[in-house]
Symmetry: C2
Subunit: 376 residues, 2 copies
């Protein structure tokens, strides 16, 4: 029997770890929210439990070589307790805090000298007002904990617009609103022994705060910019002692700077196209990294890869679009996560690879439209 | 919920169907020999039962869109019964007979006009002797049913060398021993509505009757030869009304002819490299074909792909070689099937893709050596 990896979370990220785990004969055990969720459907070993239930987390870690995550929602004290008992937790609790708490992230990145948007912790309307007057309105306001896919992020034009969050949390992260030409993401993996491998930086396009399209490699980023982005992400991984996959979202500003926006310490939506486009996918690499196995080649096998998310569907089940999708776009790779349809929900994604970027973008968008039940 | 595919068999072929099934949200249900076998380990829905147990086969077909196979061992009468009841069996029982019975295969291919080695059904030593005197000794003798990986195939230099098989089976297939420059395999998929897609013909190398190495595309086969091989395989698929993946093994003779050696109507060892090298793998394509979904692009994304089988190991578990394997060969894709180690057993395979064929062959062999526990 190969090694055992325990992962907290039963969504599409754990689901997509299953394929490389099977190929490498790694036994993947997931703590899932529901047995019929995205990961629970496909894994024979998927106990149901909550990520904040210490007993449940301890249960899946028993007998595993390592405990890892597909999200950031395991409370810090639980992870510290498990680490004290000698359980391999990767990424470790200290690193993971920077992905769990955006204020902690900004403090740590500033300590590391990583370029970020101007920011401040604000604990009152007066402090938010002072920040806005200094950095300029509007200001990007973020709740420190629990946000994802645009949730917990708000553009505020006056201090009063943030009153509810500051009242609720007692603190918030205020950031300058950056003028950017494009958003980028750099993915890498780092193993405990220190090896780091980065994939090519990608361009991400968000709609209403949710990732819509990813293009790899990022168009309009020259070799020097790509090197700088990779080096910046490596600095963060080493400075925070991240293990596993790290996604660093960046703004490529109109004046050519690269500023770090967000971090995720797990496989990330911006890396789904590595399944088809790279020698080693982010999901395989995450398993290798957390097991402290040597990392795989991150080279891209094709000139261009484009991923488009399937966000909601008017179909009862997006797989109902397969006959038309597969007939019209035989080169498209569809990934459907087995989730019930809800408006705007990430139900899957499509990836296409090839030579002609504009053609690939058109095909990927049209393919996703079909799965969303829209006439393309 | 996506469609349900029921597959008979719990080996590595069913195991490798699991990944594309997950990606496409196809529910894969396997009838497995053991719950801890290659497929049983990775599939939540894997009832244990025998392929010749009509009740067990009927049980997995219930509620599935289609019943398919990873081997040829479901008895013909069971399949005919299920078809009469309206269950979609793909490939159908009539087609599958040509993969179950080598004498039936030779008769059908001869009817279709497909070039084959000279052959005869022999039911006595006198008939075998007569064939040998006409075609020349030695003769390749095959048991009609149940052979695989060189089992049930023997080179005989005199009729007496086949006495035991003729006595046991009452019949045997005698074939001329062909002088070949290389062995080829052509894979294709065909769906019930008639669409056919072929992959590039590959070169296969057997050692002691077991596939050792596969190279794609086949070196030393020119474009006309490749077209002829693809067309020949298509003729067979259409003539036999095959649905799903069909593998046609061929001899490329020293005088330049292509003669059909064997057929398999399922994903095949010669197509494992399609996982990494082709836009659509044989495992995904088989699922699409038996569901009568439009077939995927079979184009190869890389100049060369090489697969080498891992046959037995001196290690207690081949995954123990990962630290050295992954360190030395970061571009290698390892597939380990979760089977217990036995001498010569197919435990897994490795695939590498890239530009330089000789380098890829060396790397793939060295990687397999490590997994076999041999100093490369």
């Amino acid at each position: 029997m190969g090694p055992v990896v325990a992962v907290v979370g039963g969504g599409q990220l754990a689901r997509m770890m299953a394929a490389p785990a099977q190929a490498l004969d790694i036994h993947l055990r997931a703590l899932v929210e529901a047995s019929d969720g995205a990961a629970g459907q496909v894994l024979p070993d998927a106990p149901v439990g909550a990520a904040d239930d210490e007993t449940a987390v301890r249960h899946i870690a028993a007998g595993a070589q390592v405990l890892t995550f597909e999200h950031e929602h395991v409370p810090h004290p639980i992870l510290q307790t498990l680490e004290r008992e000698g359980i391999a937790v990767r990424p470790g609790s200290a690193a993971l805090r920077a992905a769990q708490d955006k204020l902690h992230m900004r403090r740590r990145l500033s300590q590391l000298g990583v370029p970020c948007p101007r920011w401040a912790e604000v604990t009152s309307l007066a402090e938010l007002k002072a920040f806005g007057e200094e950095a300029g309105w509007p200001v990007v306001l973020k709740r420190p904990v629990g946000g994802y896919d645009g949730k917990g992020v708000r553009i505020v034009h006056a201090a009063e617009d943030g009153a509810d969050w500051i009242a609720a949390d007692g603190r918030a992260l205020a950031e300058e609103k950056v003028d950017f030409r494009q958003e980028l993401a750099v993915l890498l993996a780092r193993r405990p022994s220190g090896e780091v491998r980065t994939w090519a930086p990608v361009r991400t396009t968000q709609v209403d705060g949710v990732c819509s399209e990813v293009v790899s490699p990022a168009p309009g980023l020259d070799a020097a910019g790509a090197d700088q982005a990779r080096q910046g992400a490596t600095t963060i991984a080493e400075g925070l002692d991240v293990t596993g996959v790290l996604a660093v979202e960046m703004f490529h500003t109109t004046d050519g700077r690269l500023l770090v926006n967000e971090l995720a310490m797990r496989p990330h939506n911006s890396g789904h196209l590595t399944i088809e486009a790279a020698v080693t996918s982010q999901f395989e690499q995450h398993l290798r990294a957390v097991l402290d196995l040597p990392l795989g080649d991150t080279g891209q096998m094709v000139p261009w890869a484009v991923m488009v998310n399937v966000l909601g569907s008017t179909l009862p089940d997006p797989t109902g679009a397969y006959p038309e999708l597969m007939d019209r776009f035989p080169q498209t790779k569809a990934h459907i996560y087995g989730k019930s349809v809800r408006p705007g929900r990430k139900l899957g994604h499509v990836t296409v690879t090839g030579q002609n970027l504009q053609e690939l973008r058109t095909i990927a968008r049209a393919a996703a439209d079909l799965l969303e039940g829209q006439a393309p």
